[in-house]
Symmetry: C2
Subunit: 231 residues, 2 copies
DNA sequence: CGAAGCCTTGATGCGCCTCAACGTACGTGG
DNA sequence: CCACGTACGTTGAGGCGCATCAAGGCTTCG
C-alpha cells in the first residue's frame, strides 16, 4: 500500500487534507520504468497522468525531419503527462526515463474530478502549466537573440541548478547527459557542444567526462550565459 | 449598453446561456485603443483580462538586451491578457494595437468566479492556454531545426491563413506588417527578410509593398516552409 | 575481445548577420 | 499643397559563427 507521506509534502498537493490524499493515492498505481524506456510517446492517447517519485524524465519532441528536441527534464516531485490540463487527449511529446524511475500513474478519468474537488490542486497545476508556457517563450527569445555559446552555458547552468548535487569539485549534474543531449536542448550540434566544453574545461569553468558534467564555477558560467564574452 | 450578440457566438463563451452572458457583459468595459498604443506592458500588474472585439493585437516580449520578439498576433474574438489563467499577477509581455482596436476589459477579480461558475468557459480557456504552449514548443523545434527561409515562409503562411482576406491577387495579410516585424517573429534580421521577399516576388510567390504582403501562391510558399528548396 | 556508443579535434565552406549607402512612400505642418 | 523629416525598404560587400564532413581515440558492455 502507498503511504500518504510519499506525496504529502509535494507542491502539487499543497493544501489537500491527508485523508483526501489517502483516497487519491488509493487510485494510483506505482510503476517502475527502467533507464531509457518510454513512459509514453508523442501521439499516444493520454490515458494516464503521472507524478514522478524518483528519477529523472526527459521530455522529447520530434521534428518533422526526425530530429529530436529536448523540451525539458522532469525532476522527482513533479507532475507530468498532464495532457488533460492542456485540453488534449493525446500526449504532445515523448517521455523517456533518463535513469531508472518510479512514478505514480492515475487514470485520466480522475483528472476532471480531482481538479473540481480540490481547488488548490487546480490552481497549482494551472500555475505549473503557466510557468511552462513562460519558460517556452523565454526559450524562443533565447533562440532568437543569443549565440550558441550563451545558450549552451545557460542550459548547463539551469540543469546544474535543477538537479545538481554538491561534490568537492563543484555542482554535479545528477543524471547521465551526453553532448548530444545538450545539443538537442539548445539547437546546435554535438560537435559544437564538445568544443565548448573542452574550452570551458581548460578555463576551469567545468569538469566533464562521459555523460557527466560538473560545474566548477557557476558564477563564471552564468556570466557567459548572460552574454559576457570571456576575458 | 453592450449587446449579448457581441460575444454569444465566440468560442470562449460557447456553452454559456445568454442570460449569464448578459451579467458577464454588465461587468465589462468597452475600450478603444488606437494604432500603436499599448493595451498593457510586460510586468504591469494584471488588473484586467480582455476580449478583442475588433482589430489585431501584437504580443511582444523584450529580450534582456532590448531586442523585441513577437510572440503572437491576437485576432478578433480571442481572449488575451489572461494572466490569471497562468497563475500570474503581472502580464508576461507587451500588448500593442497593430491597428485601431476595440476590446472588452473585465477586472481580474472576476476571473476566478467566472471560471468556477462556467465550467465550459474554464475548459475552453485552459484549452487555449494548452494550445499556446503547444505552439510555443513547435516554434522552439522550428527555431532549432529549420533554416531562416523556412521559418519566414512559415510565419507568412500562418499569418496569411490567420488574418488573410481574399483579393484578386491572392491572400492579403490584413494588418500593416513590416520587414522588421517578420524578422522579430522568426529570429532573423529585416535585411534577410527583405531579400527573401524580393526573391519570392520575382518567382511569383508573393506581392509585397510597404507594410503589406499578399500571398499569391500559398501552395508554393507552404512547400518552402516545409523545407523544399525551390526549383 | 569485439562492437557499439560516446567524445574529440581538424578542415572546409556556407548561411546569414553586420555594416553601409541609398531609394522611396508617408504624413505633417508651414 | 508642397517640402521636409521620418519611417520603411532595397541591395551590395565582407566576414564570422557554426554546421558539416571526416577521421580517430576512448569506454563500456555483452
Amino acid at each position: 500500500m502507498l503511504d500518504v507521506s510519499l506525496i504529502a509534502d509535494l507542491p502539487p498537493f499543497d493544501g489537500i487534507e491527508r485523508k483526501a490524499l489517502g483516497t487519491l493515492l488509493s487510485h494510483a498505481k506505482s510503476r517502475h520504468y527502467e533507464k531509457s524506456s518510454a513512459v509514453f510517446n508523442q501521439g499516444d492517447p493520454a490515458n494516464s497522468f503521472f507524478l514522478l517519485l524518483d528519477g529523472h524524465i526527459r521530455v522529447v519532441r520530434m521534428a518533422p525531419d526526425g530530429e529530436q528536441i529536448i523540451a525539458r527534464y522532469i525532476s522527482s516531485g513533479e507532475l507530468f503527462g498532464i495532457a488533460q490540463a492542456l485540453g488534449r487527449d493525446t500526449y504532445p511529446a515523448n517521455a523517456i526515463a533518463a535513469v531508472d524511475c518510479i512514478a505514480l500513474a492515475w487514470p485520466s478519468s480522475l483528472w476532471q474530478e480531482t481538479v473540481e474537488k480540490y481547488p488548490s490542486f487546480a490552481s497549482n497545476t494551472y500555475k505549473t502549466v503557466g510557468s511552462r508556457l513562460q519558460e517556452a517563450q523565454d526559450r524562443i527569445v533565447e533562440m532568437a537573440t543569443e549565440r550558441v555559446e550563451q545558450r549552451v552555458a545557460n542550459a548547463i547552468w539551469k540543469l546544474a541548478n535543477q538537479t545538481g548535487i554538491k561534490t568537492d569539485e563543484g555542482l554535479l549534474i545528477d543524471l547521465p547527459i551526453s553532448r548530444q543531449d545538450i545539443s538537442e536542448m539548445t539547437g546546435t550540434t554535438l560537435h559544437t557542444v564538445s568544443r565548448l566544453l573542452s574550452a570551458w574545461e581548460q578555463n576551469g569553468l567545468v569538469k566533464s567526462g562521459r555523460q557527466k558534467i560538473t560545474v566548477t564555477s557557476g558564477h563564471r558560467l552564468k556570466l557567459l550565459a548572460d552574454g559576457n564574452r570571456d576575458r
